[in-house]
Symmetry: C2
Subunit: 219 residues, 2 copies
DNA sequence: CGACGGGTTGATCCAATTCAATAATCGTGG
DNA sequence: CCACGATTATTGAATTGGATCAACCCGTCG
């Protein structure tokens, strides 16, 4: 499949809601957010995207994009004209199946976010968020215990249905409890099991020294 | 495409999380809910489904279903073996495109729910919920102003990220303000524009008699 | 250097939850 | 058909988690 590249600078949009839909994008490197806007102007971050992920799927529904996608750092994407995607997915059954899976995975992923937004407390949301990032960084070969948040506190808050002050407070609390170390955008996870316990609704069981697993400092 | 039918009685499951994925289902008539469960047992309703909609899309991702689908009333679905769906969507390009749209539409729909869960107050959520139901009933030829809620207050609450008491209270308030009339599961929308104003964050602008549009009593 | 965006932290407030009591409705079996 | 227990719904009072308002710090950039 012929693929062209496209670069988006930090702060710029890859596409915006109401833009005509032509192609999908595979992220080569960089970090982006997707946002939707309500009629009265409230903005909500609905996803953060990183290298290896495919974006633009929202446009297939009606040939028009339904959200904004903004680069949070300089980003490079692979442009995949949807016409070509359709060619491939219809000519090769296995490619058709594969593409269905990509779409379905996005649906399932969103189920998890709805669970989070619908039933979790601030601490649980933040813990889940950090673990999710950690897991995604690890899957891409980066450290699962140390990374840089590409987004602001306000963007994290929007994504998690919280205000930026709450995000800041909870991160401070986690830091105070020895679960993480935060320094502005730089985060180090010190006790992943502790975070997992919080996600599962545990009231953070005192503290104890179960730093048994997941302490690591890969490249 | 050979299609078989399947009946599910009120309270029974069409499928459950972890069930093997084989087929999709088109709802012929009835009403269902989809729920996901967090590891610690919290249940969250992620969707309500009615006649004409397709369900089971979550299973494509990994050949295993990721949510429970339960009938809220006696329901009949059309069983569509996914293998056959793949045959059709890969042999006919237009069918492939159409199926992609179905999947993408689900993704876009969920964006709206995330916006709701992430940034709306209880009254806004309920107003949006009622308008959404109204619109879907209308699209199916039923009255847009009078319908029966097939789900309990607890299920509405779970879907909207609220407690059942809050749902009950807000419905009572809407009723008191003349926006709707509620009688247990039976709801009549008296002032759809008022509800729309609430969704858009308007503090319900006194009341005024703008019952201009959308009062109707179709069959 | 001063302004400005991003972050932290404290004090107060309020919307929604929790706890609780009561009522209405439904399903079931005698 | 009616009685009875079990859901489901409503409503009130008290509580609280997160929002809001506000002050301040820090680094960056013109």
């Amino acid at each position: 499949m012929v693929t062209t590249r496209k670069r988006i600078k930090r702060g710029e949009a890859l596409y915006r809601a109401a833009d005509h839909f032509d192609c999908l994008y595979a992220i080569r490197l960089g970090f982006l957010k997707s946002t939707v806007m309500s009629s009265d102007g409230r903005e909500q971050v609905i996803a953060f995207h990183m290298a290896g992920e495919m974006i633009g799927l929202d446009g297939i529904a009606s040939d028009v994009h339904s959200c904004d996608v903004i680069a949070l750092e300089d980003t490079e994407v692979c442009v995949l004209p949807y016409d070509r995607v359709l060619d491939v997915t219809t000519s090769l059954r296995s490619m058709g199946a594969h593409f269905h899976k990509i779409l379905s995975r996005e649906i399932v992923r969103q189920h998890g976010i709805m669970l989070l937004l619908g039933s979790m407390h601030a601490e649980e949301r933040l813990a889940a968020f950090l673990l999710n990032l950690s897991q995604r960084f690890e899957a891409r070969g980066y450290s699962r215990s140390e990374f840089v948040l590409r987004m602001t506190r306000a963007e994290i808050g929007s994504y998690l249905g919280l205000k930026l002050e709450t995000v800041s407070r909870v991160l401070s609390r986690f830091s105070h409890d020895g679960l993480i170390q935060v320094n502005q955008k730089h985060v180090q996870i010190l006790n992943a099991s502790g975070l997992r316990a919080i996600v599962s609704g545990q009231p953070a069981a005192a503290d104890a020294g179960n730093y048994d697993d997941d302490i690591s400092l890969e490249p």
